[in-house]
Amino acid sequence: MSKFGNLGARLHRGEISYDFIGHRKLWYGISILITITAIVGLAVRGLNMGIDFQGGAVFTTEKTSVSVSQAEEFATDASGHDAVVQKLGNGTLRIQIAGMDTEQSDQIKNELAKDFKVDPESIAADLVGPSWGDQIANKAWQGLAIFMVLVVIYLAIAFEWRMAIAALIALIHDITITVGIYALVGFEVTPGTVIGLLTILGYSLYDTVVVFDSLKEQTKDLTKQTRYTYSEVANRSINGTLVRSINTTVVALLPVAGLLFIGGGFLGAGTLNDISLSLFVGLAAGAYSSIFIATPLVADLKEREPQMRALKKRVLAKRAQAASDDGISDGRGYDAEDATPAVVGPRDQSAPRSRRRPSGKRR
């Protein structure tokens, strides 16, 4: 543990760091691959919508001694879908199964009658409409859209538009991955799933905002120095908040993992599983994207700014100078000793032989 604590210290001092920004193409690639897989999965397999979205069949039995959980089993076996079973006040059972049409419902009715050992006639079958209705699902989407617009505006004001865009892309990335996994695995989409997804919205952005906040702080007076480029500072800022990111992700994932593996393990598939799976995937994706996607994107966007480009020129020029001066170039060729912090350099555009590098590489 103290080693881990030490890790925090060493990250803090920059003794160790991972070059997130430098390797960003790798991570972009991975993300694009996952996203494409998700989209293909979604397009090919579609989502398995639960009864709350598409309606289904409801069977009402006569008074029976079959227990609710038994009935649940029978119904799931007969239909291949999750079933919701409720006992009504008069001792009869109400069994709801998603996505059935009239023909299927007749067949299932017969199977249920066999399982229950009653006459098929004594089971009433009826189709139920979606209790959520398209309207409500649509409203959730509408809310999502409004939220995204507002959050972009907010982030653009609190930070800047580049961060807002990057956060939005990271958010869409998280949602796509989560939805894609649902499509690929074929889990039923219930209101719980949607709610899990909506929780991710907040959390994914929360995480991103924490990293951005540190980024903003660290890059505040960036143009007044010539030691680091934006990308380098961004990278350091990710590394600086890495311990926090790991800790908060672990802390958020542990209870969800508890729900997913313990809750699900004891009970098999069920609502708990649905919700916790979407949460688990979404939280993990959210943590990943704020480090590997959102911040590198910001760096990419920032490096296009004229003043950041100029800064990079100056930094590289200076480094080249230092290197030719004493010929030392270890992994971190800009140790504190190598230069007195040039606080504000006059806009020195006559940088000698400034090789334009594609990114803020620093080794």
Partner: protein, 594 residues
Amino acid sequence: MAAPKKGRSAGAQSKPGRSLALILIAIVGLTGGMFASGHTTPRLGIDLAGGTSITLEAKADQGSAINKANMDTAVEIMNRRVNGLGVSEAEVQTQGDRNIIVNIPKGTNSEEARAQVGTTAKLYFRPVLQREAQGGSADATPSTDPSASASPSGSASPSASPTDKAADKAGDKVSESSSSPSASATSQGRAVTDALKKAPTPSGSSTPKASDSPSASASGDDASAAAKNYATLDCTNPKQRAAAGKDAERGQDTVACGQDGEVWNKFLLGPVDVDGTEVKKAQATFDTQTAAGWRVDMTFTSGGAKKFADVTSKLAQQTSPQNEFAIVLDDDVVSHPYVQTAITGGNAYISGSFTQDEAQSLANMLSYGALPLSFKEQSVTTVTAALGGDQLHAGLLAGAIGLGLVIIYLVAYYRGLSLIAIASLLVSAALTYVLMSLLGPAIGFALNLPAVCGAIVAIGITADSFIVYFERVRDEIREGRTLRPAVERAWPRARRTILVSDFVSFLAAAVLFVVTVGKVQGFAFTLGLTTVLDVVVVFFFTKPLMTLIARRKFFADGHKWSGLDPKSLGAQPPLRRTRRPSGLGAGPVDTKEA
């Protein structure tokens, strides 16, 4: 919640004891309130607790056809009605071609809910031809809303101004939206909205002046059947009341009853002028301009606006009560505002001494009152939980195990510091639980399984705030500071981060709450609540506690187990500030705290 505030740094931290005392008093007070109110557990949604299931059958009467579109509209309207504020987790769905099932969680007043969905009907605006007050004994008031008990809603100041000739009987007044005279402020009780509550009534008029009612004079069509009915109608008699105006034709005069406080009014009404469906939107708003109280704003469709303009220009020239129009829901007069001037813009508002509930209720009726179909109650039965207790138990067990793991992790990583995190989590959990319990009776809040999961995730969000702060403090220690300055210096930055990121969470919750209905809205409410609590706990508990422990030797000296040991944190000796190895701690220039 709002954008990060600056310049608030000094106050709170200098007196950590006060903040701690404050929040402890709040917890004790709320917990006391919870036990006093007798609602010691959160109300559970139908998936966890079961409830009442009502089956309604669409009636094939002369009205509109029973088709999918109309059924869907009816479902949406009922959903709005039973969900009131949108957090009660009731479910509404169609069954077969002509049935609607409404599932209401246990603990809701199912009678009330039945009234809301079952006796649904049509909403009309009819001109008042004659009106007369009847009775006024207390027993004639069947419905004081039981769920309103958690927050007092009575005792409005008597308000109708005596110079206003109609005010003491028909306190409601309809005006064009641009002007803003209104009667008076009232108390602001908050209760579950009740779509079928009786007429909003000026509280000042609960002592009726039966004497001045004969002003109502016969108005011409004495000969009509309606007028005859009117003469014999006794609205204090429940049977007669129920029969009054039953199945009235919209083109003909009719009679109806309405309640103003404890007084019954009987009405002779003219033909329907405006349909309820021609109200595009209605909402209760607090009249901030005059601080005069709650009112109901209405927007009409273009057709409705035209008709309403015609009616009001006619009515405005009449004297009381012929200058009134009645809003008739299910043959009951729910409100009978009088008209001062012709209202032509399509926007109008009804003012009077409404309580918030009354205004909300009338607005709901105007917005959602007009169902496209009428329904008959087919069966009412109790249902067991849709998920069964095992899901809840497994969820809670898993949540507890997850929480245990979180605590183990925090202890292992933060050692002594984790005590603060755990204490904060506990405070947060206690507040959440108590508030959820109290909100059950207050606004019909019901907790379903998704919301339970959401609350478990909220552990992560809450813990995030502490971790942000702790890491900041540790960074400060790594810079070579001792604990006390580190705690104070770390706070402004951590506070900013916490506020900015919590604001994003809160924004998500607020947007979803406003835009959506049903379960999503209930969830958004939970999310918003936990976010606000997170801020409250961090500001008023975690931070002051940190300040306090920074004075303890155990922590200040950086004991090995305190989680703040400078050595294991890798602190640099406090050197001259200019020379920091590679300057990596502080950013390119010293940006700390600025």
